[in-house]
């Protein structure tokens, strides 16, 4: 089935609320109200086959929650996740569900926590193969694990070692090998390089790009690092307090950012080219997702906010191949400017 089209992965109205209230008894005794964190508050994303869709945002914006919702680690509070035409929450037989799960895998942030410290690398990588019954025997399993290790540029003999014998970058390679073990088509990568040193980060990013090309993988890439996102993505979605404020093809997003929050985030990227580019540090901090501001949640920090922004939640409107949820853009109050970045000489 080549060409899954624009809707290989389709996320509609996805919401996830977390109840962070004190225990019932404490609440009743102290007269405290229920507290709900709106970690993800209604987002729509479509990911095409073979592309890298990135979600960026500051901590607490809900991007990691989206990743976990997509792979089924949390059930959604509302909304729908479709994978290659299959509703993930729909009724599937056990084997159908396993078949769907096999096709999507996740790579985690912390290479020190994502591998079971008591297992040998061989068993860690073999676990998905065994769980999905993909191998025909011991020899086949060994061959598969060896091939996977080679694919991430590790030595098949490394399979006998334990995770603690490897550096952070090598562990992340092991995580990737494990994620690839079930021959998935879709990988959800939650900050896969943010715990790594830059030179190692480059190795892992290059590896991910190579693998994508070779295995026709589709990535959902979660990161707070805009430079990394710029480097690796086909399209980018910017999240703020559980909502998508802007989605655009990568170049458009970085050259012609529209939402004031996107502009602000771009301003925070350090100027490595030493161009003396003017940066205006953003004022204020991200408010608590427990009681998010009314209307557009960004309005308390937004220099362009008016009364409508305080009252009415902006809708995502299509613009220049993407969407943006901003009243100021919709009303034409905020002109869209081109940005240039000096070339690396």
């Amino acid at each position: 089935m080549p060409d899954g089209g624009a809707d290989f992965v389709r996320i509609e109205g996805l919401k996830r609320y977390f109840d962070v209230s004190a225990p019932w008894l404490v609440r009743k005794l102290e007269g405290r109200p229920r507290q709900v964190v709106q970690a993800v508050d209604g987002i729509d994303i479509e990911i095409a086959k073979g592309e890298t869709f990135s979600l960026v945002g500051e901590s607490g914006c809900g991007k990691s929650t989206v990743a976990r919702l997509v792979v089924g680690l949390y059930p959604p509070t509302a909304g729908r996740i479709e994978f290659d035409g299959n509703d993930m929450a729909g009724r599937h037989s056990r084997s159908d569900m396993a078949a769907l799960r096999r096709r999507m895998q996740m790579i985690f942030q912390d290479p020190f926590a994502s591998l079971n410290p008591r297992w040998r690398v061989f068993d860690i990588i073999a676990e998905p193969i065994r769980a999905f019954g993909l191998s025909t025997g011991k020899a086949d399993l060994e061959a598969r694990v060896a091939a996977l290790l080679r694919q991430v540029k590790l030595n098949p003999a490394d399979g006998r070692k334990y995770p603690h014998e490897f550096s952070g970058g090598q562990r992340q390679r092991i995580s990737i090998a494990r994620a690839l073990a079930s021959e998935p088509e879709f990988l959800v990568c939650d900050e896969p390089t943010s715990a790594l040193d830059v030179s190692v980060q480059a190795q892992i990013l290059n590896l991910m790009v190579d693998l994508q090309r070779r295995l026709q993988l589709t990535y959902l890439f979660i990161s707070h690092n805009l430079a990394v996102v710029y480097h690796i993505s086909t399209r980018v979605g910017v999240m703020y307090l559980g909502r998508l404020v802007e989605v655009a093809p990568t170049d458009t997003l970085f050259r012609r950012p529209k939402h004031p929050y996107t502009r602000m985030l771009l301003d925070t990227i350090p100027d490595l080219e030493m161009t003396g580019r003017q940066r205006s540090p953003v004022g204020g901090e991200v408010p608590s997702p427990i009681n998010p501001p009314s209307g557009c949640t960004f309005h308390p920090r937004c220099p362009f906010a008016n009364d409508r922004c305080k009252a009415e939640r902006p809708k995502a409107l299509p613009i220049e191949g993407g969407t943006v949820a901003c009243h100021a853009i919709e009303e034409g109050r905020l002109p869209i400017e081109d940005r240039t970045y000096a070339l690396n000489t």
Binding site: L115, N116, E165
Partner: protein, 313 residues
Amino acid sequence: MAAASRSGFSGWLHRVSDSDVWWSFKSSPMTVAAAVATFLIIAVAFLSPVLAPHTPFDPATLSLSDGLKPPVLVSPDGEWAFPLGTDDQGRDVLSSIMYGTRLSLIVSLAAVAVAMVLGISLGLISGYFGGAIDAVIMRVADVQLTFPAILVALLIDGVVRGLISVKRHDEIAIFVVVGAIGLSFWVSYARTVRGSVMVEKNKEYVQAARVIGLSPLLIMVRHVLPNVTGPVLVIATLNLGLAIITEATLSFLGVGLPSTEPSLGTLIRLGNEVLQSGDWWITVFPGVTLAALVLAVNLLGDWLRDALNPKLR
């Protein structure tokens, strides 16, 4: 690093001798002494049928004329055949202690095993699933913790006694004691395991296992359990000391093992009855053995707790 990946037994041996735990063991003379003492006591106790000079609870070998002989070293009335003296029935105190220690150890090890299985299972369930199941298990644990373990054990023993005849009770006494002690100790395992599970289950390797759709039971057994064994081992060791004492206390109070099958506690009780007449050795030697055993086990447990705690290293 290459050495650490050697497989098989030699690889394992190498890893152990290279590990921080082994190193911390070697560098603590007190711990080495405690380990040697524990090992010796356990070895002698379990080899008592071979090593003991007498079989003190075989009436055929007893002779009342040997009764109440004092220890050899303190009195000219002693005989070398009974180095630690005899009791009023003519039983050799040394042999009684060896057999008694064996029984005490069997009962406490079994009790610890019961507590471990119960506590670990409940702790895993409680920690992994959380919610209402967790609340119920932990409240039961809280309630049980408000009673001293000995009281719980007495209660269980009392209930069983009420249900069956005295003779029948003597036959199954050992199971009742094991159950009673085991049931009164599960809480600390459950709490520790629950805490560790709550930490481990949010780690990414457990989430990675969930992503491939493994069942909660498999995840608990394969992934979570092996990573909570450290703290469990510490509690088990410290608990062994407690279990030995609890068994002794129960037996001393007369609700533990019957005098036909005496444990260390039973021996102390029997000796205590004749203590007023000056026959001190019958109760003092089992008492000293009990104290030494518990001390050695506790020292080991304390060391293990520190050695496995990365914060203290």
